[in-house]
Structures are given as C-alpha cells and as structure tokens.
Symmetry: C2
Subunit: 229 residues, 2 copies
Amino acid sequence: MRILAALFPGFTALDLIGPTNCWALMPDVQIQLAALREGPVKSDFGAEIIATHDLSNCVQDPDVLLMPGGGRGVFEVMQDDRFLDHVARIGAQARWVTSVCTGSLILGKAGLLRGYKAACYWYCREQLRKFGAEPIDERVVIDRNRATGGGVTAGIDFALQMIGTWAGPAAGQQAELAIEYAPRPPFGTGRPESAPPEIVDAVNAILSREMPSDLIDRAAMRRGGGRGA
Amino acid sequence: MRILAALFPGFTALDLIGPTNCWALMPDVQIQLAALREGPVKSDFGAEIIATHDLSNCVQDPDVLLMPGGGRGVFEVMQDDRFLDHVARIGAQARWVTSVCTGSLILGKAGLLRGYKAACYWYCREQLRKFGAEPIDERVVIDRNRATGGGVTAGIDFALQMIGTWAGPAAGQQAELAIEYAPRPPFGTGRPESAPPEIVDAVNAILSREMPSDLIDRAAMRRGGGRGA
C-alpha cells in the first residue's frame, strides 16, 4: 500500500498527521510526503514537517493520494499551477483520491472532484460547488474512488473508516483500539449546528480573516490550474 | 503563553500535533519544539518534524511543558539521562507539566509525577505505579499543575479541555468548533473494555512486540535519570 501525501506551505498539520499516523498501523504500508521541493514545509501553526520527495520524484501512481487542508495556505496553493498540475497528474493515476478538511477544495481546483460528492470543512463546504463537486454534510464521504473527510479532526474518523475499507473491518477495529479512539469532546460545540450562536459568530469572524472570501473566489474563478476550474 | 514540546526519536506524531495544533488557536501563543539536538526528529511512523531548539537553548520556564508518548522510542529515551535531566529541570520550572499517551511514563521517569494522579495509554497505564504516580482510567487527568491525557487521540480532548482551563470556556468552545471536533468513531472499539476480545488480543500481540515488557521494566527499574525512579 503506497500512500502519498502532498504538502504545501500552510497545510494543517493535524489534517496530515491524523490520517497518516493511523494508516501507518496497516501492514505493508509505505508513506511518502511530497511537496514542490524536498525539505521542510511549514504547517499552519509553524511546525515544520519534512517532505521526503518532490512531486515529480515521488510515487506517481500511489494507491492513495492524500491532500490535507489548511487556511490561507490552501487558497494560495490554489493559485499555483505547478502544484495543481502535479496533483491533477498524480490524482489521475492514483487508485484512491482522498482529502481532509479544505483539501477537497484543492482536489476540486485540480479537476479531480467534478461530478463527485465530497466532504469539506464546514466553513467552506459550499465552495465545493464552484468545482463541480456536490458538498455533503458528513464527516466521511466516499463516492467511487474519492474519499473525503470533513474538517481537521474528521481526518481520524475518515482514516479509520478507510482502513476498514482497504484492510477489512478487523484491521479498522484494531487501529481504533491502538490509537485509543474513544473521544470525549469537552464542550459539544464541534459543529456550527451544535454550538451557541455567539461561539459560531466568533469563529466566523476569525475564519473570515483567515479564509477571506475574495481569496476563495479568486482561487475558484481563476481559469487554469491542473485540469482547471 | 509559552508552550514547549519535547521531542525524541520515535515519538508519536499525533501525540504532538493533536494538542499543539489545537493550542495554536489560543491568542498570543508561542510554541517551541525542542529535542536533544535541533533539526529533524523522526516520529514513530517515519514522518520527520523539525525541532527548532535544543533542550538547553529553548525556553527553560515554559507555561506548558508537553511530553508526547510513543512506542519503543519512549522506553529507549527513558534510558537516556541527558534527555531526562533536561525534562526534570524544565518540568520543575514549568507552570504546567503535561503529557499525552505514554509521555506520562517519561515524566514519571524524570521524577515529575511522584504523588500525582495521571493518565496514560491503556496498554501501559499500570506502569505509572513504578514511578510513584497513581494511574487513572480517564481520557484527561488534572492533578494540581499536572495535566495528562490518555492514549494518542486523547490528546485532542486533553488539549481542548486545557484551553478551557487556560483561556476560558468560550475559547475552548471556539477551538472545538474551529477543528470541527464532532467525532464519529466508525467501530466503537477505542477502549479494550468496548472492543471484542479477539481484537484486544490482536492489539496486545502487536503491542507486546512494540513495547516489550523487559524494555519497560528496564526503564522503570534503572536508577538515575532526571530526579530518578
């Protein structure tokens, strides 16, 4: 099982590490982290994770392509045709094309979600329509060989479910025990539908600065990039 | 808020990234990642994360010391007095001493949990007694200024709860929404008590190779190391 994760400046570290740390529990797994250039890639909060390959010398036909999401970095990389061209090429040859959080917007911009149902971070979910994808309000969405997780922590639910699909339910059950995944969210505010309005307003205010709508629109509307919007 | 995470070869990446990616959502946070030497540190599944500081040039009196756990790497670093001495010194000057997963065993070996209640990864929880700590079967355990999370994914529950403690409940609620933390474990087998016996047996068999009891005992019984066992 050859897994390739594509990194870019500002990716959300937990979107990457949640799924890959889970998938590493499967037998015979090889995980490559690739970016435009080999070397350290700065994640959203500053932690640097090393890309062991660049996107032209990594595995070109992985069993799984994983695209993490992020905040502002996502909308910046959606302006970068070099990155998007790599994603489009590798995605076309991957057995599974997957993402966590706003990573589905990058897959969309690379032309990989046209006509597919997909998950996304709640704040940006409707933006998927601009790339011909159908946004679904679920933590994990599987449509043919596209498997997408919702925002950030949904990557863990997504990863475990995919272990079940790829390696069988017993492997999924074992992985869930191995990572002691019996979550107890302390506040119960993990979805806008379950959070008090003033909490949603406060987070919306932060996200509107981090993910400004003009940056989203510019990325969505721009022609070109991978197989294009 | 100055947060210091201590890295060592073989640490579990998700133990580090779960909490730090959450804590970065608090205002005015500075996060340092430190190891015996600056530079890339290989995590349990191979991903390399960069230590921006070494343990002597990082902040020496952080508001929060975070110790991630791991598998075999934990029991190896528990043999390394240089690492343990740094942890003991910094821990004594930190406002909060915290860990995720088997990280509490390292804190214990550094003499920082004697007389404290603490959480740990389910497989190793009882080992805490060897360091004078009282193991508690909870996802998050707070005893005075020691705050410890259970296995791997408990780091997210732990981190959110601590945001509530440090920055107030509204900040915790906002963080939970920002990371879309409304988990849906696909199998319900995240604790040995909730998993079928054959799944527990299979994971025990894997962990007994990854965390062999002689390595655990050797680390626990050895004299010296930080303020010692």
